[in-house]
Amino acid sequence: MAGIISIGAYVPIYRLNRDEIGRMWGGRSLGGTKAVAGYDEDTVTMAVAAALDCLKRGGEVEGLFLATTTAPYKEKLSSAIVASAADLKEGCHVADFTDSLRSGSAAFKAALDAVAAGSAKKVMIAAADTRIGAAKGALEQALGDGAAALTVGAEKVIAEIEGSYSIYNDFTDIWRSEEDRFPRSAEGRFIDEVGYLPTMQSVINGLLKKCRLNLGDFAKVVYYAADARQHAALARRLKFEKSQVQDPLYNDIGNTGSAAVFLMLAAALEKAKPGDRILFVGYGDGADAFILRTTDEIRKFQRRPVISHQLAGKINISYGQYLTWRGLVPVEASTLPERSPISLQSRWRERKAIYALYGAKCKKCGAPQISQIGQAPRVCVNCQAKDQFEPYKFSDKKAILFTYSVDQLMPTLNPPGVSGVIDFEGGGRLICELTDCDVDKLKVGIPLEMTFRKMFDSRGIHNYFWKAKPVID
């Protein structure tokens, strides 16, 4: 039976305290913190991080569906970028599910159907969002950034899907038009009473009826809501037991949009016992409800945490940092000369280096190497043998910081910029930017790992590449 094989999660390390937002506007604070994507992160980079985490546990896939309401391009396939960075094989079927908070559960359903129909053995979905609420509004505090990935397959599943049921309901509770930067929202009571609560009630009742189950048959109920208040309102309306309700994580990280319900599911699976039934519901202009039943495989999966270790942030940021990172206030341009526009031709030639950080390993002397310029070398930097190379991936290698500088001049939205010389385990050196650093903790010799980030924008092109970040235990 088709089910979940693996799940991965990524929550940025930055937290913005909601009290700080409240203070800023002299208003109310919802309390807690929201996770904020780094200045160099977006939906795609977070999806890559979650996908890589998921692949580590679940292995190679034949399909990748990306679910988001905040794709970096209006016209260009984001899932193809994620697949490239995750180094999925060319024959992988990729697609974007967009424009709805339900894009995640829609992608999940499509992945389950693909596996059930036998068109793919394993399909991964990655859900990520970086929605921005307008300043001073409730959404500004409620929304957070994050990503989750989940692999669907038929073998070694950690949770089988016993049934699913979907309804649609064209209901305008939250929306963004072509011109809107921020989501707009209808009046709260109207949303609850006419939209959210009856829709959820209807899809859950429909599923229970279809599968001949009662609410009492579920160890956990995992479901989307716009915020903690609405989440609690549904629990009351449907009389869920307190122990059944999965914490939506909104207090720690906020509502992460398409990713939210999957991050909750990851948290539920971390604690589930074999044989537990989980009711899982995605919402948005209708709802998708699923019945999951964990298997004995869940124990193996639980050896490493997925989300619990990421709930607490590592670096608190100011409201000012948040505003500049998201481009909500214009900031003074750097006085350094502008970087030259990137060349699409050059990027295309160097795509293997750019997307999965491929260098080469000399077949004659065995030296792994990557040119800072990106092209795979033709002549070995070590033994000067010509064209004796095999591809060698650096993105999954650990590294140490050989030397570095904290750079006040580097144009960055999070000054000071940090760059350094990094030496990879197994050989090879790269001079690159560092990110997610506490500059006071930088030292020669600290362990690093690679992370896919956005370097800068050039003529409407998001220039993604790899940076190094300190390994945080």
Binding site: T335, L336, P337, E338, R339, S340, P341, I342, S343, Q345, S346, R347, R349, E350, A353, I354, A367, Q369, I370, S371, Q372, I373, G374, V381, N382, F402, T403, Y404, S405, V406, D407, Q408, L409, M410, P411, T412, P416, G417, S419, G420, V421, D423, G427, G428, R429, L430, I431, C432, E433, V444, M455, F456, S458, N463, F465
Partner: protein, 396 residues
């Protein structure tokens, strides 16, 4: 393979005042420096048989030399990052040595202040194709790429950052003192150690005064055959070595590079010493103009060029070895730090100082009885560079 030693002589030089030359264009700077050199050599522009111009950003092709109105002679633009000026001199020298021309001109010019930006433009990765950048190089500044050396030097030699900063500050203080004696220098003010140490950080651990000036300027040399040199002047300066040594990004790609030396500096200087017949540079070199783009690099150059033993530059700095009155005065004209660093002009500006010193015409900066002078540039940065190392003398 023959050495270049004593085949070619410099018989005239010119150098503009460096600095923020808002009221002068590239063409003004070229004319200003070139006519000083013509006059110094006692020649007319029509006597020039071939010319090379070095500039990184301030012109494309030798047509950049058109303000001089040289009439239909062979001319070429050369570029080799911070070694560009030295590269122009090398080309002129080799042409004369080859016997194909008797009088050649080397011009170096840069007008950095017209870009309207602070710092240098160019690809973020040394050697990258600027017009076809894949955009994946780090967006770091030039100071950061040299700060790597300081971070690592302090680490390897167990120097606390505060101590290290005071150590490097002595280099800035020395160069500012020398610059204060030089009316052509961009900066002509003295500094104290505390001023240097307390200046704003640019790229940790380097602060403002660890970084050289970004300037406008031009410098020019007239070279001729050594056997003809005394027809032009009684005190020609003879070329003993003219070395360019270029890395292939080894240090940026190989883990065996230590970031406390620059391989190009070591190999380039050794080849220059061999050409000039120098056995003990610390004793034999009377004055050196080295590439102090950042204070840490001047310190590392002391070791790379054999002025100090490996890891021992600190003791020599503290002993005042490289001050005007020291055992081996370095950057007597203020260096890149104070004279300024208009990229294409710098190599020839260094030669201008050495030339004047060897002729005994360096005024308040004059060192005693110099015999051999050295100029050194490093284009690029730690990990990959273009090193030029030239040695000249006042005796054949």
């Amino acid at each position: 393979m023959e050495s270049i030693k004593d085949k070619v002589a410099i018989v005239g030089m010119g150098c503009t005042r460096f600095g923020e030359r808002w009221d002068k264009g590239v063409e003004d700077l070229i004319v200003e420096a070139a006519y000083e050199a013509f006059e110094d050599a006692g020649i007319e522009p029509k006597d020039i048989q071939a010319a090379w111009i070095g500039t990184v950003f301030s012109g494309i092709s030798a047509i950049t030399l058109s303000p001089l109105q040289l009439q239909y002679i062979p001319m070429t633009r050369v570029e080799n990052m911070c070694a560009t000026g030295s590269e122009a001199l090398r080309a002129a020298t080799y042409a004369v040595a080859a016997g194909v021309v008797d009088i050649a001109l080397a011009v170096g010019v840069e007008k950095l202040k017209d870009s309207g930006a602070t710092g240098l433009k160019g690809p973020s990765v040394v050697g990258d194709n600027q017009d076809a950048s894949s955009g994946i190089g780090p967006g770091y500044s030039a100071p950061a790429s040299f700060a790597y050396l300081a971070t690592r030097y302090f680490h390897d030699y167990n120097i606390k950052p505060e101590e290290g900063k005071r150590l490097l500050a002595q280099i800035a203080v020395k160069n500012h003192h020398n610059g204060s004696l030089n009316p052509k220098a961009h900066f002509q003010n003295e500094l104290t150690i505390d001023q240097v140490v307390n200046a704003p950080i640019i790229a940790w651990p380097l602060g403002l005064y660890d970084c050289c000036g970004v300037s406008d300027g031009a410098a020019v040399a007239v070279v001729t055959r050594a056997d003809m040199a005394e027809k032009f002047r009684p005190d020609p300066i003879y070329i003993k070595a003219m070395q360019i040594t270029v890395g292939a990004r080894q240090g940026a790609m190989r883990q065996d590079y230590d970031f406390v030396h620059i391989e190009e500096n070591i190999l380039g200087s050794r080849q220059a010493y061999a050409s000039a017949g120098v056995k003990d540079p610390r004793k034999e070199i009377s004055i050196a103009e080295v590439h102090d783009c950042f204070s840490i690099h001047e310190m590392i150059v002391y070791e790379d060029l054999g002025f100090s033993k490996r890891g021992r530059a600190r003791g020599d700095i503290e002993a005042g070895t490289f001050t005007l009155k020291g055992e081996l005065p370095v950057n007597t004209d203020g260096g890149l730090k104070c004279f300024g660093h208009p990229l294409g002009a710098s190599g020839l500006r260094m030669m201008y100082e050495v030339y004047k010193q060897l002729q005994g015409k360096a005024g308040p900066r004059q060192v005693k009885n110099p015999r051999l002078g050295l100029t050194h540039n490093l284009g690029g940065n730690a990990g990959t560079g273009v090193c030029s190392c030239n040695i000249v003398g006042n005796e054949k």
